[in-house]
């Protein structure tokens, strides 16, 4: 009996040992491949210019490409990858796709451990976090990627950081007002008019006092910050919130106080659906029951979200111009790409990665396969291909056309996460009446300054 027992333990122990050893063996092997790969990368760096041609004939290469999206995007991307692999039979592209949730966390983790994919879809707003911490993303200007096809100004607005082109924007967009057309005709909203914030409030107040269940608009904290608060400030100044040269705020405390006051008035006049009720749907305002049932007339949103709002309510949805202050110096919204493809600076096959990005963004075949599933026409080539075959959504096009002429160019610092968190926190405090707009403005200036001092 005794012997049997100890035998069992011996077996268990040896299993444990075996595992330990197996683990070590594997890691050693992984190290070797990595260092070998580094050497290759260094060599290929020298022969960069011929890479595009040689990639087509060389030995097998495997690329990892990560993106987030919905089923439509997944299917279009996979089809595009298939076409790419058919064109370059020696290249295999491993697709790593998922939903939006968790993608950021995953990419950050992978970047930090050197396990990130060769090519990845990222948001423009992430670049300062990533590149600020180290040289993680390749400069596309040094790689065989044709950046000249991008629409004028788009690369500067969305792809450049510290003089490097870290991102090939895969979409272009702006912000607009989504309107429920039935609500609009019932309550006299003039879709062709450019409303001022005050006029919106007058209208909203009239609608709500007529019928308590109705509100002109709704918003969560993020929308309040990005599409009420910030545009309001920029309409006053005409420039990005932070001047990157001096690292100072471009707006005054009075501007901020006015912006907070405007948001507060929106609630007090009954223009916006009460914050608590709206915030239940934070992050997906299209799920707001009132909006779905036509009890809310309009939502400020991004042009890229057109399909979401279009599908969410039974009435037809149209877009109208962004509200503005009188004598605005700009319409306060950006015309840029908030998403794009980036190449891992430590990629073992950086030139093949560049070849792939160039194919995805500039090849007419790829563009017509992808349609608008990857994004909205960032390049002139895409315009040519997609406008010709009519794949481009009407609503989105209209939204962008309305926004573009008077838009402004923002910068990386103005999009800093800490700044955004600060203003969001303060907006909520104002809405809940914990601080007055003036107090909030004072605190905002102080906090912003602190963050900016740290960034310097």
């Amino acid at each position: 009996m005794t012997r049997k027992g100890s035998k069992a333990i011996a077996v268990a122990m040896s299993m444990v040992m075996a595992f330990g050893i197996a683990g070590c063996g594997e890691s050693a092997a992984a190290d070797t491949t990595q260092s070998a790969a580094e050497t290759t990368a260094a060599e290929s760096g020298a022969a960069e210019t011929q890479a595009a041609e040689s990639a087509a004939t060389e030995e097998p290469v495997t690329l990892r490409y990560a993106w987030w999206g919905s089923d439509n995007r997944h299917e279009a991307m996979l089809a595009m990858i298939e076409a790419f692999e058919a064109k370059y039979p020696n290249i295999t592209v491993e697709a790593e796709y998922q939903g939006y949730d968790g993608y950021y966390e995953k990419i950050m983790t992978e970047l930090s451990s050197g396990t990130a994919p060769d090519v990845m879809q990222i948001e423009t707003g992430w670049i300062p976090d990533i590149q600020g911490a180290g040289d993680y993303l390749a400069d596309l200007q040094t790689l065989p990627v044709d950046l000249t096809t991008l629409k004028p100004g788009l690369l500067d607005a969305s792809g450049m950081y510290n003089g490097e082109a870290n991102l090939f924007p895969c979409t272009v967009g702006s912000s607009c007002v989504y309107v429920n057309t039935e609500f609009a005709s019932a309550h006299g909203i003039d879709l062709s008019k450019v409303y001022s914030w005050d006029e919106l409030m007058e209208l909203g107040s009239a609608i709500h006092s007529e019928n308590e269940d109705l509100y002109l608009m709704t918003a969560d904290t993020d929308i309040l910050n990005k599409l009420f608060f910030q545009p309001y400030l920029v309409q006053n100044t005409g420039v990005a919130l932070i001047d990157e040269e001096t690292m100072e705020m471009t707006f005054t405390e009075q501007n901020a106080a006015d912006a907070f006051q405007m948001i507060l008035d929106m609630y007090e006049s009954g223009t916006l659906e009460p914050f608590g009720e709206a915030n239940t749907f934070a992050g997906s305002m299209n799920q707001d029951q009132r909006w779905i049932n036509g009890e809310i007339g309009a939502i400020l949103g991004y042009t890229g979200n057109a399909p979401v709002y279009q599908d969410s309510t039974t009435a037809a949805v149209d877009v109208m111009a962004f509200p503005r202050i009188e004598n605005a110096k700009s319409n306060g919204i950006t015309y840029a790409g908030n998403r794009g493809a980036a190449i891992n600076a430590n990629s073992e096959n950086i030139d093949t990665a560049a070849l792939f990005v160039d194919y995805m963004m500039n090849d007419e075949e790829a563009i017509s396969i992808l349609g608008t599933n990857l994004g909205f026409c960032p390049t002139t080539t895409a315009d040519k291909v997609l406008l010709a075959d009519g794949t481009v959504g009407e609503l989105q096009t209209k939204g962008i056309e309305l926004a573009q002429p008077d838009s402004y160019v923002t910068n990386a610092t103005s999009g800093n996460t800490d700044l955004a968190t600060t203003s969001k926190d303060l907006i909520e405090e104002v809405v809940y009446g914990e601080v007055t707009p003036e107090e909030a403005a004072a605190e905002l200036m102080e906090k912003y300054q602190e963050i900016l001092d740290l960034l310097k």
Binding site: G134, P274, G276, E277, N279, T280, T417, D425
Partner: protein
Amino acid sequence: MGYSKNWKWGMIFILPWFLGFCILQAYPLIMSLYYSFTDFSILGSGDFVGLDNYIRLFTKDKYFIKSLTVTFKYALISVPMKLLMALIVAMILNMKLKAINLFRTVYYLPSIMGGSVAISILWKFMFMKEGMVNGFLGIFGIEGPDWLGNQNMSLITICLLVVWQFGSSMVLFLAGLQNIPTDLYEAADMDGAGKIMQFFKITLPMLTPVIFFNLIMQIIHALQEFTSAAIITGGGPNHATYLMGVKIYEDAFRSLKMGYASATSWVLFVIILLITMLIFRSSDAWVFYNDGRD
């Protein structure tokens, strides 16, 4: 105190855990402690900043104390409610009822569903201003509150969610009830002790190891709770459900202040450790073990 006769066997038995601790767990723990003294941002290597993170936490971060308060409130409300609920239901489901297997399964369903997307949508539907719960209250002429949007209600709503998922505690109580030898009850019956008397004299004392376990675990979990607030309210409105777990996660992965989040975590660690030690100390007085030790 002397070691038991076969103490070497004991050490062999715990070896899997010990190896696991040394190989898999120790390094991440030590690193997070190290990060707490740096400005590590996940991507950057992180410079040593001494006690800066800790000082900032207590002097400059106005949401730290708020978050701590919310977390304690949450634990104080949810843990007793959950344990009481689990115990009562376990007692009832331990009775010899028809279709008892079905009932036991049904009562575990909410726990099986965990923190899925279905739960987050459903919960919003139940508790939004014009939602099902208020519709139900409306039948009786009660105007329900804005469960999720009102600062004073949203934490309660989150508590309701986790109390409703009392399944794991219930399972442990059910298992614990099976470990009570039936002859104890038979003897009590012969002595003429009533059911209530039996509950307090036999069931409760015999269950104390499980109650103790559930209490410790639920407190440890409650003080780190993240999922319920993250999927339902995202910590809002106006930080009313800003649990420590949410704060730490947001600092770590949203603002990429992993060093700062680590410091917050270690403060939380010390708090949890102190509370746990307190309960362990108190256990001598109220936990009854059958193994004739301690």
